[in-house]
Symmetry: D2
Subunit: 316 residues, 4 copies
């Protein structure tokens, strides 16, 4: 935002604008004075800015994400409302490992109050030599387990080629942190016309994240649910830095549905629940948590998997 102000009384105008919550910087040439407003300022109604004495005009940029601005703030995933009155619990194993494992865990998630079952079928690992997921077979196990236990279901798609078969059976498609910047995948996923859970890339800015959501909507997505899973920053003892500020801004300034994934932020099971609570306190409309009942048998991410019983106390 740029605010044009009268040359007399600029200092007064600036003080009032800062009092409202805006960080301003002054630019001038002769009698022309303009204030730029930092994008990390408080969200303030335009009318309050215009009402400040000395303000001549408030210039705004066209929104770079008009579709997102117009998107309904509650997104339906199967029978579950994300962004509504009730916080949502989405849980499941990092990887679907076997028909028995996912059925057992789906039962536990349902028993402890969960709403959506998650589980990875194709795993985008850092190493190509690591476990890459059980593949398409696991998709059927996952969906069957969810249906049996009355849960909605979502899974991540990592290849454009898998979008259709996933979209045909799940309630929401997940786009992972490694794929958020992949325009081709966003386009393919969006075209499936399903709700999408969009994780934030490792060091994406808020604007890049919002624009990835816009790309999904432009391609046809039925709705976008953001999911914060930690960003890269200085080593604070956890795997990543959970950006609760981004959660708060998405929710309180933009009104958008945003989930917190404490598992990937923590990377260690002893702080997963505190981080889940922190995300909810910041404004998240739900959690996405990795659970496992037999972590010593897990094929991926065992150190951050928590017992499904811990879901129980999480939301009220």
């Amino acid at each position: 935002m740029i605010i044009l102000v009268e040359p007399d009384g600029v200092a007064d105008a600036e003080r009032h604008l800062r009092g409202l919550g805006l960080w301003t910087r002054r630019f001038a040439s002769g009698a022309s004075v303009a204030l730029s407003v930092s994008s990390s300022s408080t969200a303030v109604p335009l009318s309050a800015i215009r009402a400040v004495r000395g303000v001549v005009a408030v210039l705004e940029a066209d929104s770079p994400h008009p579709l997102l601005d117009a998107m309904p703030r509650v997104v339906r995933v199967g029978a579950v409302l994300v962004g509504g009155d009730q916080p949502v619990v989405c849980a499941g194993p990092c990887s679907v490992e076997s028909e028995g494992q996912i059925d057992r865990l789906a039962g536990a998630v349902a028993a402890h109050g969960g709403h959506i079952l998650r589980g990875g079928v194709w795993k985008p690992r850092t190493s190509p030599h690591g476990f890459q997921g059980v593949g398409a077979e696991g998709l059927a196990w996952l969906v069957a387990a969810a249906r049996r236990h009355g849960l909605a279901v979502m899974t991540e798609v990592v290849s454009e080629r898998d979008v259709d078969r996933v979209a045909a059976v799940v309630d929401a498609i997940q786009v992972g942190a490694r794929s958020m910047h992949s325009q081709a995948l966003l386009r393919a996923v969006g075209a499936a016309n399903k709700p999408v859970v969009l994780k934030r890339a490792f060091s994406a800015s808020l604007e890049e994240w919002l624009l990835a959501g816009e790309a999904l909507l432009m391609a046809g997505a039925a709705g976008v649910i953001f999911c914060e899973r930690g960003v890269r920053g200085p080593d604070g003892g956890a795997r990543n830095v959970l950006d609760v500020g981004a959660i708060a801004v998405l929710r309180h300034a933009w009104g958008l549905p945003v989930l917190v994934d404490p598992s990937h932020a923590a990377g260690r099971k002893d702080i997963v629940i505190p981080l889940a609570r922190a995300g909810l306190a910041a404004g998240a409309v739900g959690v996405v948590i990795e659970v496992h009942d037999r972590p010593a048998e897990a094929l991926s991410d065992a150190p951050q998997a928590v017992d499904p019983a811990l879901l129980a106390g999480l939301v009220r």
Copy 2:
């Protein structure tokens, strides 16, 4: 931590260790096999690690902060216990601006349930041409206001030369983010034998932060209270990225007293309270918040100052 394991059954041992919450990496030479454990692993009792089949020995590093390890986990600031059963509210203006201002705000802080008054007297600003604080005169105003309203009091010291006069009148000394790396100041502040509130530097690692605490104790500090105020990371819409993971690790893995400063993390008043709640949910033992009742008159940080009345609902 390094774990020596028997060459037979390494994979089994690794699976069990990961199930416990440890991220391991395998190193070998002939029949010698060792696993290094990432420092961002779950805190697991040594006995549980030793009990894993195949583990031969668990090698540990000497703690780099033995004094901190031995420090009592509750630190008294005046009559206030930080790290005890009750969350602590520390609040006040960014800058002490006048005798009237600080008295008025101290009254408001006390009225809304606050315990400790804060206010800057010497302001370490990014620009040397900006407002640098009212100086020593403000110290007397600040202390008098706190005493009049029954609050404990703390303020930041930025110069070695000011330590003694501050230590003589306050209940705790604050070391700011810009000074955390300054060994000379840490030594001078520690020597004053007072409790110290130690903010985390802009991009300090957890270990650097802990070691700054160790330096304070080594110099004589009566106790160290950590204060997370946000680190640098990708732009998420707030001024800094509040590292709730570091709060959770300090509290849940180390048992240390840690406060959350949502004001400098947010930089915008519309998300200060959500971030305060997030910090408490992650494990913070209290909050440090900038408040102002007439933000349009504030001499610094107006865009992030919240109304003192918002303190009321914050801690139960």
Copy 3:
């Protein structure tokens, strides 16, 4: 790396190992002493480490990228040797805009000593509403222009669906920073059996970057050429922080072919040439530079495009 040492004389062994260039950290349990070695230590021959008095055994991890380790260090792109005795100049416009534009620029690149023509046909932009490239039609223009002026040619692929038609006509395929983490695209591109220029993702670690190269080779790539284009860090006046250290490590410690892209690192034309020189001085085997002769007509990235004539003085 983990070094087992005799309990007597540990301090001496550590001093000698540090003198060789290793950052060590000591772990012990009873008479067992091990030193972990930081991965950002000097590359030192194993024999020199074993020769240090007190060293009992040097334990190493299996390489996570055996294919990369075995890859020839010179990669042929058309008739051009990348990683050989001559630095390579790869240049062209950010976007292919028209048949005339790319032909004109190919001529300029050839005239000023360039070896490889580059140009974007599908543009992965941050905003879905921005210019997305001219598409497949531009691919033919690009290749024709390169052939006419005796240049090798490469372009970026952003969708799995485009790999085959691109692989059929170019000398090398580029994987962009936004796609480096996309396993599905890496697999598809690798399967085309062409040389690949692999850009580093915005905040990828060296290990993640190497593993993306490994994934390409595992899928069948004819060779991998790394390309550093700047990472995210504190604002230093340029668009990104050009990591010349990573270039130096890739070249001097690993012997791998690595190019420098100063255009995306700079984001501003006044420092593109100094950054190109810095990359070459650090060890880059060539440059990838965006050029344009009519920047006011460029459809993307005009502020960082330099005049093709500046290529002339760049490599000797």
Copy 4:
């Protein structure tokens, strides 16, 4: 910078401004249109901007560092001109360890073409339990060694209390990365009226760094020489990320004297010389390098110390 433009032909004006090298963003309200210009744009003469058709006015901010803007671009350190025609070599051990060691190394530095001797007397280490330097005694050894071998001399001050005795004997005072944000130390060092070598803090922005220079000048410093030593970013195999872009901007856009410290950026001796060359290629007016002839005896930073003989080939 904010550019007011005529509402007709905004798109044309924007294209031309981007062609000049500016990243613009458009803001409008009714017939008022303004373009904000990103601070990481090309440095373009004001006259060229004003000459673009459609530009109505170019609004600028007052410089936040007027003293720095007016500072002479060549700073004299003893008999050495920093920022003049000849690149400057400043070298010495991390720590002054003994009278013999520093004399021997000063001789080697002089013999291999060095101009300024450096060496730490008080060492600001991360751990308070580590070696803290030999203290004031070492200052005399350092200065005597420099004088004996015809070198200028500088050392770091970490405490306000040491400024005067250091200023009395050295040719330049160094402010370290850990102290750059310390206003009190900047004020004390500046008041000594000596040239100052100002290292960049671990994650300081360019503006914060420039403002620290301004604070030094405001307090009385005879001149400020910037020194880039690497910032925090993703792990690229070196200790820190050497920001050659910041060097290029300081030199080519601001004309300021800036040195490169490849030792702390690298943290490993095998890439110190390539990074030194990269810094010089980017525009650095000299290097600051840690050398040691007996690294196995060094009391600090041995893994990054290079042989003094390597200085010889460095500058021409």
